[in-house]
Symmetry: C3
Subunit: 272 residues, 3 copies
Amino acid sequence: MRQYLENVREKSPLVHNITNYVTVNDVANVILAIGASPIMSDDEEDAPDITAICGGLNINIGTLNKRTIPGMFLAGKRANALGHVVLLDPVGAGASKLRTETANNLLREVKFDVVRGNISEVKTLYYGSGSTKGVDADVADKVTDENLDSALSFVKDLANRLNTIVAVTGAIDLVADKDKCYVIRNGRAEMGSITGTGCQLSGLMTAFLVANPEDKLGAAAAAVCTMGAAGEIAWERMQPGDGNSTYRNRIIDAIYNMDGETLEKYAKYEVR
Amino acid sequence: MRQYLENVREKSPLVHNITNYVTVNDVANVILAIGASPIMSDDEEDAPDITAICGGLNINIGTLNKRTIPGMFLAGKRANALGHVVLLDPVGAGASKLRTETANNLLREVKFDVVRGNISEVKTLYYGSGSTKGVDADVADKVTDENLDSALSFVKDLANRLNTIVAVTGAIDLVADKDKCYVIRNGRAEMGSITGTGCQLSGLMTAFLVANPEDKLGAAAAAVCTMGAAGEIAWERMQPGDGNSTYRNRIIDAIYNMDGETLEKYAKYEVR
Amino acid sequence: MRQYLENVREKSPLVHNITNYVTVNDVANVILAIGASPIMSDDEEDAPDITAICGGLNINIGTLNKRTIPGMFLAGKRANALGHVVLLDPVGAGASKLRTETANNLLREVKFDVVRGNISEVKTLYYGSGSTKGVDADVADKVTDENLDSALSFVKDLANRLNTIVAVTGAIDLVADKDKCYVIRNGRAEMGSITGTGCQLSGLMTAFLVANPEDKLGAAAAAVCTMGAAGEIAWERMQPGDGNSTYRNRIIDAIYNMDGETLEKYAKYEVR
């Protein structure tokens, strides 16, 4: 995993983010922490220009609204035309008609390298509809050791149907193309008590993909391992009285300090 | 006070927030810290769907703009129709025509369970107009021990007129319906040096109300005590060189770690 | 430098910010940390009212979009009419047509007391066009000891042409009017690994100018020294394992604790 990380630090890619206003600051700081550069732009007149000077585009539909939807399509198509990496984070797909339809329309009109969401959001994209409890995966739909085989079939099938890498994050993370799936067991449940760890991962992952064009599946998996390892390292540094706000800071700090050797030591994954 | 808090942790309500982009991240993390789940959505096409899957709705008019106003009305009415808790935080009412009129219009068209603001904002709603120095209460209008009796009459009268709970926060916090008022003496003045402690309290309070439908007045008061207690606990943990940014983190951390026993120990209130 | 700072703490100016949603929370907390008060408002119907009750206006074009552009012009003109301080932070000017044109149009229609940006953005305003790598200055365009003389000529010339103070921040900071330039050597390179230290400085600087109307050039320079000193003090407090997220908090904390004596001790500048 170390080479993927070291490529990010060496190449310092510029990542264009069209993302929600809830977690945008943390997304920017995570991208900086890994040694890349973030730029945020969402207006339909601005986003295509900005994406042209970047290496990759991260589209996140949290706080989706009609003002920013046109910019997502225009920037996505521009990034496609330029051969840039494009990632979709379908936050809350299944929770509202606007989010579900926009995610499905984006998948039709823009070619995505990766779709990264929780199992509930990803299932929505699979079935074309679904139900989501806010931005967290349904408890009944968690990927566990018991249902791992069927989950693997599901993500590979979806990756095949969408012709993209599918990254499903939860207690067990799956990063798959149609043939191969990284099964990753990094991270901690307490990361769910921080808003936006998923959004942060999407920004981070875009940087990893831009810096590792020759192996996008491995790069996406390395980003998941990096975020999870950071969650574990940050937890080790927690003191009595600390809570989710300090944990948030320490996770970003851990990404800032992550090097290839540390990532190699922490990464827990198998390829299926 | 402990039962109100324990109900939030046990029921983990989903809270829909239409809120400003300044403090939205902290609002989300505070809601997570208390064991509830936040979701943010403001578009008129998205907000009604999102509110339908939630237990309560927190409407905050900081950074008010015409793009998000229609969603406030639509989501508010939808929440009313579904019998959900709805809270109004009239940030900056009195400081501009748009904010004052929108707050007054919302109060006319949506039934609110609680209105939570500073004394200046709340007076604006009472008088239908007013002057506000930004988002802080006028110094001349502070609730003090000297003017407490008249302040109590004022908030009970406003609660009666608006048919809602009124929560006025400042050095002394008042949480009243038309008959009864909790007078709360928790918190610290230094909390005013952090942006958004009021917005955070509104998100927190919505979660408390959803989890305690049988006693909304007590639930609103418990939320105020929780936020104030967290401000006191967080201050105890401050080290030399720490300032408002660290204080912010430690307040959210203190909410993350708050249990019923701690709240009971810190809560300082009387009922008048 | 101490008097400029002490005037901010004594007068506690109210600063209106029309700024991007990436770094807005930090901007608010920095303004509070220095003892001033922030208010954010961007709607064309709201912003002119809000600016009227403030002492200064900070316009920042990060995440520029067509919804908020009219409010920038209206609030800017209103602030001009009222004799308020107005600052422009041309984030990403040169990176897109929308940003470059809007910055140039603002400079034509609004009288700015200060323009504060990195060298790439400021050169864009000078040449009427340019290229920007995201929001960071081009490496080839850094102000260094080797090119300091030509950089001084450039900023004084631009200050003359725009009839404003020009503050160019980077490894060496320049704060100039047409006759005189503060050359400031505070701060640390690691501040570039935090999103929004430039935006924070713009908010801080607006507060300094409002509190020191008799010497705006000195006030702008004092704001730069304060931010840089805070970056140095914060770095001294970094512990093993800390990274950019903790550094962000500690910089704001250092501003919260900054007094005139400390600023005097840390400030490193010459006037050219």
